[in-house]
């Protein structure tokens, strides 16, 4: 059996990895030498503390699936993972020492990755080592040089923050604002789970340029969250031509027609899943399933009834874009006209549409 682990990255592999990272970071191949210098010239690998609060460990799981570069190369060659409850050899007192050595011992020197939300209403619904997540988060967020909120839990509270949010689950942006901690060092990567590509590019960008990448109002990097899933979807042509899957698992699905009518939330979701894909580019949600909008804030409350089409999308064939297109929306038009307007008003008021507002299709025509 040939072991991948026999050798560290060769020079050639390393530069190739930097090239991949450059592409995924959206900075162009001319940046490769600079990225390479940043990753290899540092006197020491940058210390990273990975904290878990209210979570399911799915983001740690996802990170261990990284292939650009391999997770093994990340932890052996790229960073120094000082604390991770999932991976640490030591437990209890020994684990707490790892935490203290870095968070207390090296303030301003470590990158903090947060997985999971902070329990604010019932602080004891989340404790580690005799302390609540509120206490730990305040300390670790304040002293970090960079904070990467991975997954929808750490970003927006995710499913446990959905109504009625029994524990007062809160994401990092809201928590840091509440506690008066500088949010200028915060990057949020809110899919469920996080895409490991988003983590490796984000940390590489920071190591290369010494600053956070361009982000939207939710602190999501624009390179990953600046475009709608719908606009990059390989099924988009079917949408434009009015060819839809009507029944799950059917012959239409076998042809990979558009999933809008069975509830796909691609038109409402900003993420680069269609291009970056998942699990070593094996597949993505729309490839075998559909999008439920997991990159968005409060999607468990706002994008629900996942198997019914979401209003607020101009559908070809509805209102005459194509005379021969499907009859989507019969009976939907009158009922949803008001609802759509209301939904968009709410969204705009909350700023959900953000800088991308002009890209959201709000056209809706009566029959």
């Amino acid at each position: 059996m040939r072991l991948l682990t026999e050798r560290p990255l060769s020079r050639r592999d390393f530069l190739k990895a930097c090239g991949t990272l450059a592409a995924l970071m959206g900075v162009g191949q001319s940046a490769v030498p600079r990225i390479a210098r940043a990753l290899e010239d540092a006197a020491a690998r940058p210390p990273v503390v990975w904290l878990d609060f209210q979570e399911c460990l799915g983001c740690t799981e996802s990170m261990t699936k990284s292939r650009y570069p391999d997770f093994l190369n990340v932890v052996l060659d790229m960073i120094s993972l000082e604390y991770s409850e999932a991976l640490m050899a030591g437990a209890g007192r020994q684990a707490e020492k790892n935490y203290a050595d870095t968070v207390v011992g090296q303030p301003g020197k470590y990158v903090l990755v947060v997985e999971g939300s902070v329990a604010t209403k019932i602080p004891n619904a989340m404790t580690v080592g005799g302390r609540t997540s509120v206490d730990i988060a305040k300390e670790a967020l304040t002293a970090a040089v960079l904070v990467v909120a991975v997954g929808n839990c750490a970003s927006f509270g995710n499913v446990q923050a959905a109504y009625p949010n029994p524990t007062g689950a809160m994401g990092m942006l809201a928590f840091m604002e509440q506690e008066g901690i500088d949010t200028g060092k915060l990057i949020q990567l809110p899919t469920c789970p996080v895409n490991p590509v988003h983590i490796t590019t984000t940390i590489s960008y920071f190591l290369t340029y010494g600053k956070v990448p361009p982000m939207d109002q939710w602190h999501r990097p624009l390179v990953h969250f600046g475009r709608k899933i719908h606009d990059e979807c390989p099924r988009r042509a079917h949408f434009d031509e009015g060819r839809f899957v009507e029944v799950l698992g059917s012959a239409e699905e076998d042809e990979r027609l558009c999933l809008y009518k069975v509830g796909c939330r691609g038109p409402h979701t900003y993420a680069d899943c269609a291009t970056v894909l998942w699990n070593n580019r094996a597949n993505w949600c729309i490839g075998s399933g559909q999008c439920i909008g997991c990159a968005e804030k409060d999607f468990w409350d706002e994008l629900v009834d996942f198997y019914r089409p979401m209003p607020g999308v101009a559908v070809p064939g509805f209102g005459g874009i194509r005379a021969d297109a499907d009859t989507i929306g019969i009976g939907l038009a009158a009922a949803t006209g008001v609802a759509i307007a209301a939904h968009l008003a709410v969204s705009a008021a909350k700023g959900r549409l953000g800088r991308n507002e002009d890209q959201v299709v709000i056209e809706e025509k009566e029959e």
């Binding site: 059996m1 040939r2 072991l3 991948l4 682990t5 026999e6 050798r7 560290p8 210390p47 209210q54 979570e55 399911c56 460990l57 799915g58 983001c59 799981e61 996802s62 261990t64 699936k65 990284s66 391999d70 997770f71 093994l72 000082e82 409850e85 999932a86 640490m88 050899a89 030591g90 437990a91 209890g92 020994q94 019932i122 004891n124 619904a125 404790t127 580690v128 609540t132 499913v159 446990q160 009625p164 949010n165 029994p166 789970p193 029944v247 799950l248 698992g249 059917s250 699905e253 998942w278 699990n279 070593n280 094996a282 597949n283 993505w284 075998s288 399933g289 559909q290 629900v304 198997y307």
Partner: protein
């Protein structure tokens, strides 16, 4: 007497605090405390019924697949929907990939460092080029002075027994397993969209149609993982077991085991007693009772809240009547616990009136004792007993050693069977069967149940629907069984609490042996 607290317990899913009392070098009593509450059962109420599987899928990111399947099957049961046979086959394939990923990850990444001394591996003498290269790489890592997540480990602890060469071999496979478990998850993503949290099995069946290239790639990745299991995982188990036969007398527990079963062999009816790992319970194994009993979910399952930070009620409730509501009464930060009162977020599930251990050991016992005569479990278990010098004596498996061995042998069975299921899928599609999904009613009303084991043990979802909305929802996870706090009128210990009693401990400052017992349950 010495009190030892481990918080956090690391290399697990979730958040766990463990407190034990040590006397004369042995654990004499134990208390397990889950330190996380999210309330998903409350959150899913009043949601559209078809959405519920996405919410409850999110209970666990290490074993998401069986949560997704249980939720969908429970909702189908409530809505009176029978998924087509091919949907059951697709669920098998997704679940098998989950298991391949999970058990490989568990053996090396979560459990491995309890038995493998990485520092000792540095002094191994070897001429194998592969192992020399791995050794050099480890040495460079250690010499960097940045040990990171390996810092403050228990390396050098006298409870490590392997010779340096074996430590090096296991270290090499530890590193390699990181890639292998990723490959298994890629197989799952090919049919499910992504991992964690596949998207393709809502109530009604399998929501897409697999294409040839997806099936081909899935099979290739499964073969790659199977090669690793055959060439590394199973040989590693057999190589280290003789050094750790002491573990056959540690972590004995109550001796009650049960499994809902997992992986459908009966694709038409989904009979849980015909599953690859069949449903069943064994009560009182340490008293010599190894007979497998059927499980009646309505009669046999009760959840207690005697020691739980949950809304209090009398006695035990069946999950269809179950109540979830946070009611914290402990100390701030859970720095201290009230050993005689309420001390955990977890509720306590009991089967047939007693706490029950769940997991691969229970699953393998049911297959071994009640499966068909040609079940691979029989041969694998008998061969393993021979290898550790316990031929014909399966009771040595009712221990930490048995839990570790059962996971490895189980995943060997899964790897072989997965390829059979792939062939089955190809055959039926070639024969023209393209039915993957059954349309579901709009606004169903009814009660549903699904028991389908997670990698780490018995998992079940109970749903109540009214006019297409979720009226009530309860889940009992493997931790609800294994990590149950004391419950019932006699405040009887939970399975892990009971299994910890008797665990020897050499150095209370470095409680490695306790971690072995804990990790044998894969918390």
């Amino acid at each position: 007497m010495a009190k030892v607290v481990i918080d956090p317990v690391t290399r697990i899913e979730g958040h766990l605090r463990v407190e034990v009392e040590v006397d004369n070098g042995r654990v004499v009593d134990a208390w397990t405390t889950s330190t996380l509450f999210r309330g998903l059962e409350m959150i899913v109420e009043n949601r559209p019924w078809m959405d519920a599987w996405h919410y409850t899928h999110r209970v666990c990111g290490v074993c998401p697949t069986p949560h997704g399947h249980n939720s969908a099957i429970s909702l189908e049961d409530a809505a009176g929907v029978t998924p087509p046979p091919k949907a059951r086959l697709m669920r098998n394939l997704l679940e098998c990939a989950q298991l391949l990923h999970d058990h490989v990850l568990w053996f090396y990444i979560l459990n491995g460092l309890d038995y493998v001394d990485l520092v000792s591996a540095l002094s191994a003498k070897t001429s194998a080029p592969t192992l020399l290269a791995v050794q050099a790489r480890l040495k460079a890592f250690v010499d960097s002075g940045q040990l990171g997540f390996l810092d403050n480990g228990y390396f050098g602890h006298p409870a490590y027994k392997l010779p340096a060469e074996l430590n090096l071999q296991l270290a090499a496979h530890y590193l390699e397993s990181i890639r292998v478990q990723a490959v298994a998850s890629e197989a799952e993503a090919l049919l499910g969209g992504k991992f964690p949290y596949h998207m393709s099995t809502p109530p009604g069946g399998y929501s897409t149609v697999p294409h040839q290239d997806q099936i081909d790639q899935y099979e290739a990745k499964v073969r790659e993982v199977r090669d690793f299991i055959d060439a590394a995982l199973v040989p590693d188990l057999l190589a280290i077991a003789p050094y750790y036969v002491d573990q056959a007398a540690i972590g004995l527990g109550h001796g009650n085991y049960f499994s809902w079963g997992v992986i459908d062999e009966d694709l038409q009816g989904g009979d849980p007693y015909k599953r690859l790992f069949p449903r069943g319970a064994i009560i009182g194994a340490h008293q010599g009772n190894l007979s497998v009993q059927p499980v009646d979910q309505e009669q046999d399952v009760r959840e207690w809240v005697t020691s739980s930070w949950n809304t209090q009620y009398e006695g035990g409730l069946h999950p269809w009547q179950g109540i979830t509501g946070p009611d914290f009464t402990g100390s701030d930060g859970i720095a201290e616990i009230d050993r005689n009162g309420r001390y955990a977020w977890e509720k306590s599930a009991h089967l047939k009136g007693v706490p029950c251990e769940v997991g691969p050991l229970a699953q393998m016992l049911m297959a071994y004792l009640s499966g068909p005569a040609d079940h691979l479990a029989k041969k694998l278990i008998d061969d393993t007993l021979k290898a550790v010098g316990a031929e014909g004596n399966p009771t040595v498996l009712l221990s930490n050693l048995g839990r570790v061995a059962a996971r490895v042998l189980k995943v060997k069975i899964i790897a072989d069977k997965t390829l059979d299921y792939v062939a089955q899928l190809r055959g039926s599609m070639a024969g023209g069967d393209m039915e993957f999904y059954t349309p579901v009613p709009d606004n169903p009303t009814g009660q549903g149940f699904s028991g389908w084991d997670a990698p780490r043990g018995s998992l079940a979802h109970w749903s109540t629907l009214e006019d297409g909305k979720v009226k009530h929802y309860q889940i009992i996870t493997p931790s609800g069984w294994n990590f149950a706090p004391r419950a019932g009128d006699g405040r009887v210990r939970g399975p892990v609490e009971e299994a910890l009693v008797g665990t020897p401990i050499e150095d209370v400052e470095r409680p490695l042996e306790i971690l072995r017992t804990l990790h044998s349950f894969d918390p």
